[in-house]
């Protein structure tokens, strides 16, 4: 090799400040939120879907459930909160990571000095914000149209919080794992939506009370987190007498925590074993 004659200035010792992991997590969160909220149509449809479903189903199930004195619509609202979390955390996250893999986001981020945790932190903030907005919107509709009473005691709000958190984490982990299934973002919507639709059906989101579903369907639903999230939210917003309408005749908080916790753990394992930074065609 011939020596290059390029004149280079003597290296200046700059005070190099390495970007901190926390600041990069914040930077990713900023990008995720801005990209999401700038996609106006997607934002409107994401937040309108549970509201539209709630209004449509509310017009069908407009009576009190026999012998309980509880309006069926209030069961629907609690279920729709669970479904809203499923749709923002599972469906939207799976689609958005598939899209990141296809449009070069993931490859680009692997090529810059980004700690991988920053990417996931950005997604976590995105799902937390969108899930919180979704829950707030469904609650507001429930209060405005279906006289849904907000719980007054702290215990119920504590229950609400842990079910919300476990639900968000579990669904987000499953959404992340699911993102590796579709080959392209065009395939992602049907591939992710169909199982979610079936899951909502067998989890008693569309048909209330859950016990009116055939037993085999209830058993399938009981394997997945959505049914338990809906049951948990019913325990928060409905009077304790409504527990009689649950399949077990009780709220089963212990079992809800167990199932959701197990799904979170399983989700972590699934993500660690299946997550791919590159698309299939990139090898």
């Amino acid at each position: 090799m011939t020596a290059s004659t390029t004149e280079r200035p003597a290296p200046i010792e700059r005070a190099l400040r390495e970007p901190s992991v926390v600041s990069l997590c914040a930077a990713r969160a900023g990008v995720e939120l801005r990209q999401f909220f700038r996609e106006r149509t997607a934002v409107i449809f994401t937040f309108a879907l549970p509201v539209v479903l709630l209004v449509l189903l509310g017009s069908i199930f407009d009576k009190q459930i026999a012998g309980s004195g509880i309006p069926a619509s209030q069961l629907l609202v609690a279920g729709m909160i669970a479904a809203g979390i499923g749709s923002t955390c599972f469906v939207n996250l799976a689609t958005s990571i598939t899209s990141d893999r296809e449009d070069g986001t993931l490859k680009r981020l692997r090529g810059v000095p980004m700690p991988p945790i920053a990417y996931f932190a950005g997604k976590i903030v995105l799902v937390l914000v969108t899930a919180a907005a979704e829950v707030a919107i469904v609650l507001a509709v429930g209060m405005a149209f279906y006289d849904l009473p907000l719980p007054a005691d702290a215990t119920r709000w504590a229950t609400f919080t842990w079910i919300l958190l476990l639900g968000v984490i579990g669904c987000a982990l499953l959404g992340t794992a699911m993102s590796s299934v579709p080959r392209s973002v065009r395939a992602a919507a049907p591939i992710v939506n169909l199982p979610f639709l079936i899951l909502q059906f067998v989890s008693g989101i569309f048909i209330v009370p859950l016990t009116t579903l055939p037993a085999p369907l209830q058993q399938i639903g009981a394997l997945f987190p959505l049914k338990w999230m809906a049951q948990g939210f019913r325990s928060v917003f409905l009077p304790d007498s409504a527990a009689a309408m649950e399949p077990a005749g009780a709220w089963e908080h212990g079992r809800i925590a167990l199932v959701l916790g197990a799904w979170c753990l399983g989700g972590v394992i699934l993500c660690l074993t299946t997550f791919r930074w590159q698309g299939r065609k990139d090898g």
Binding site: L16, L24, R34, D103, G104, K107, R108, P113, Q278
Partner: protein, 281 residues
């Protein structure tokens, strides 16, 4: 002089086929090196191994003194990538995008300066999705150079450019190379691009490096026979000769003072390249 890239005996197999079959490669610091080769020659695989995106099966690889397969986040501070066909950050503006990527580096160039450098100042506030293909590519270049890389990878950077955009892009690359003595590894299908930009050119085919030299010397180009063509008695004639001046003088004596349709053509880089990869011309 240390090498920015040093590769010895690099091998990579995919199921049933060998993509890279014993590649040796040295790229000096500050050099612009163009890697040429037909599709499926092992070009992309080689570059992706150097970029740290792929694991090799055998061989020794040092990029900026480190093994890219085991390299740290700090190693990435010195690497800039301009990848093919990215369409990310579509809903962000040009300025937001460049500023975002500046945050990953300890000593980034000022974002406005980079946006100016790639000629997008007028588009700084525009969303990336509204840009033309060429403008989008310049955003990629801006992201590639924002961290003051010592080594910049350009993967087919001007595919789909019109001739004017291509010339502007070349000027930009020369400027970057001159400013900071950035080492550049370029892959391209355009021989004129390699000829105008590269200090040295490597030709790869079937997973092997066939030749490495300056564009002027590649494959014996400097000493290759020239082709003299003219029209005599209404018929086109051509002659291949190592002494074209003597041939022209003889023709001028015979047909002069002006030889009809005289042309003396040295083999182009493309002729040499096609010869090397064994393609019928």
């Amino acid at each position: 002089m240390t090498d920015a890239v040093r590769v010895r005996g690099l091998r990579k197999h995919y199921q049933g086929s060998t993509a890279v079959d014993g590649v040796d490669l040295d790229i000096a610091e500050g050099e612009i090196f163009a890697l040429l080769g037909p599709n499926g020659a092992g070009k992309t695989t080689t570059v992706e191994i150097l970029e740290g995106f792929r694991k090799r099966d055998a061989g020794e690889v040092r990029v900026l003194g480190e093994d890219p397969q085991r390299a740290s986040r700090r190693w990435r501070y010195g690497i800039g990538l301009v990848l093919q066909s990215a369409s990310d950050m579509a809903d962000m503006t040009v300025a937001e995008t460049v500023r975002h990527f500046a945050r990953y580096y300890p000593d980034p160039r000022p974002a406005d300066e980079v946006i100016d450098l790639v000629g997008l100042t007028a588009k700084a506030g525009a969303k990336v999705r509204t840009l033309s293909g060429g403008q989008r590519r310049r955003v990629d270049v801006a992201i590639g150079v924002i961290g003051r890389p010592r080594l910049l990878f350009l993967d087919e950077p001007t595919t789909g450019f019109d001739p004017e955009a291509r010339r502007q892009f070349w000027a930009l690359i020369r400027l970057l190379s001159a400013q900071d003595a950035t080492t550049i590894l370029l892959t391209t299908h355009y021989l004129d691009e390699a000829e105008t930009l590269a200090d040295r050119v490597g030709v790869i085919a079937a997973g092997r490096i066939l030749a490495v030299d300056t564009p002027a010397e590649l494959g014996g180009r400097a000493t290759a026979e020239a082709e003299v063509s003219w029209i005599e008695d209404g018929t086109p004639r051509t002659l291949r000769t190592a002494e074209p001046t003597a041939a022209v003088r003889e023709l001028a004596d015979r047909l002069g003072p002006e030889i009809p349709h005289l042309a003396v053509r040295r083999p182009s880089l493309e002729d040499i390249y096609l010869d090397l990869i064994g393609s019928p011309q």
